[in-house]
């Protein structure tokens, strides 16, 4: 991964040198979007891109704390028909396919028949920050707020599968949710993973930050795959099907994929068919929660910048801050990491703005594997606009 990031940087620089700076593939994602004046169930008003299916984004201020409140947690569905009521007397999680015993669990059984485990983990849409890409990549033009971090509690997927008994050592598992397409010919949103991608941290969660999951975040249970983008964290999970072979599914073979090359990027507008791969694990990233663009502060006031940093679970080593446009960087104070390696780490950095006018604040995360958050302009373009992780920049006004 370190090696890949190195190539990513060197290629981007080479590209810029050869053709000039006009080839910059990414800048900052859009910011400062207004929240809707209408609140969705169990949510505060959020940035609302669509009501059907619901697409809700968190505002920047949410990212100055490690745990994202349930009522401000982003929402992304693919299918328009989402159950707005679940009758727990009827709800079952089914386990079937290539298993010794086909099983069916009520929510209560999931809670009582398996050891409850907790994991604090970031949940991030693969398209988070897509609006940073130029030319505009296909898909919803998310700012930086299609991400959140919560304490999830549930049963280990492995324990559930062990109960059913696996027929083969090598297997795939597909995940079905209760959301449905409006039209019978539309493929439903089904995801699948190879068993080697599933470890003890993967859970079927029935609790989010000590409460039941909000409906829009997948009540009554959803899959939690720490370190991975949220495309396979199936909501309103209803079915686990074990298969010997990979099934060809639209939402696996076409969606949520990036170019299968070292930089995971491609030439915009080339329209060439290229080999792709699933987006899988998250790259290293920090985001500023406070201040926001346009925030006014007094000269020489003690300004405390706050934000969060995360990666795929290798662990955050450092967040540095630059207040001189990236010339020099200084380490921010990181929290104690008590929430574990899959969680947001809070950081803070206090300084005295010493010049009137615009003041740029940049934050850059580095993980324990030595992977460094790149500048936006170092990130190569991909047609789906996935995996944006540019250095976050906020410009305030010193008065």
């Amino acid at each position: 991964m370190q090696r890949r990031d190195f190539f990513k940087k060197s290629l981007a620089v080479a590209g810029a040198a050869a053709v000039g700076s006009s080839l910059e593939a990414a800048s900052q994602p859009k910011t400062g979007q207004k929240v809707s004046n209408v609140a969705f169930p169990q949510k505060r008003p959020m940035i609302t891109y669509s009501d059907r299916p619901p697409l809700l984004e968190s505002t920047r201020d949410v990212f100055s704390q490690a745990i994202t409140p349930n009522d401000q947690f982003f929402v992304r569905w693919h299918m328009p028909e989402i159950p707005t009521h679940i009758d727990l007397k009827k709800y079952r999680l089914e386990v079937n396919g290539e298993v010794e015993r086909e099983l069916s669990f009520t929510l209560d059984q999931l809670k009582t028949e398996f050891e409850p485990v907790e994991v604090v983990s970031v949940l991030q849409c693969g398209g988070n920050g897509r609006s940073a890409y130029a030319p505009i990549a296909g898909g919803i033009q998310w700012g930086n707020g299609a991400v959140g971090n919560a304490k999830w509690k549930g049963a280990r997927l492995k324990d559930i599968l062990d109960r059913a008994g696996l027929k083969h050592e090598d297997f795939w598992i597909s995940f079905y949710g209760l959301d449905k397409a409006a039209y019978y010919k539309t493929p439903n949103f089904i995801r699948e993973m190879h068993h080697t991608e599933l470890d003890d941290h993967v859970i079927v969660a029935y609790e989010m930050n000590g409460e039941e999951l909000p409906y829009l975040n997948g009540y009554p249970v959803r899959l939690i795959i720490p370190g991975y983008y949220s495309d396979s964290w199936v909501k309103m999970l209803s079915n686990l099907t074990v298969t010997k072979k990979y099934q060809e599914l639209f939402f696996m073979d076409v969606a949520y994929r990036v170019p299968d090359n070292a930089t995971e990027s491609e030439e915009p507008g080339s329209h060439k068919k290229i080999k792709t791969k699933p987006i899988t694990t998250m790259n290293v990233k920090s985001m500023i929660g406070y201040p926001d663009n346009g925030t006014k502060v007094y000269l020489n006031s003690h300004l405390t910048v706050r934000g969060v940093a995360f990666d795929q679970g290798k662990g955050i080593k450092e967040v540095s801050v630059s207040i001189d446009g990236g010339k020099t960087w200084e380490a921010a104070i990181l929290d104690d990491g008590k929430h574990g390696r899959y969680s947001f780490r809070e950081f803070r950095y206090t300084f005295n703005p010493s010049k009137y006018g615009e003041q740029k604040i940049m934050t850059r995360a580095t993980n324990l594997a030595g992977e460094v958050q790149p500048l936006a302009e170092e990130i190569g373009w991909n047609h789906g606009g996935y995996k944006y992780n540019g250095i976050d920049i906020v410009t305030i006004e010193v008065v």
Binding site: S36, V38, A39, F40, P41, Q42, T48, Y49, S50, D51, R52, P53, P54, L55, P80, I82, T84, H85, L88, L107, D108, K111, S131, P135, I136, G138, G139, I140, Q141, A181, A182, Y183, Y184, K185, T186, P187, E211, E212, Y215, Y219, F250, V254, G269, H271
Partner: protein, 103 residues
């Protein structure tokens, strides 16, 4: 006796703890949409599966992009649309939500 009552209460708790007991209403958001030629096709086809917000929040795009989206809806998602209507939808989207570029 007290012990039995406690056990009885605890056994009822998981059901009683469910916070939402009735159907929820997901609000309708009236996204502002541009009127123009072929809007009737947009209304009858696109809204079956998604809101106007889903379309207009893709950002201004090329004609090839919009044609690709319409093709995806037809081929991958099974939209039942004639070739002529598919062209109309593309033209509408490119005219009102295009970036001026063919590719």
């Amino acid at each position: 006796m007290v012990k039995y009552i406690l056990v009885a209460i605890l056994a009822v708790l998981p059901l009683a703890a469910q916070e939402v007991k009735e159907d929820m209403q997901v609000p309708y958001i009236p996204y502002e949409i541009k009127m123009g030629e072929h809007f009737d096709v947009i209304q009858s086809q696109c809204l079956i599966c998604h809101s106007f917000g889903y379309m207009i929040n893709q950002g201004p795009q090329s004609k090839a992009f919009w044609a690709g989206k319409v093709k995806k809806m037809k081929v991958a998602f099974g939209m039942d649309i004639s070739d002529q209507d598919a062209v109309s939808v593309t033209e509408y989207l490119f005219k009102h939500y295009g970036n001026g570029k063919l590719k």
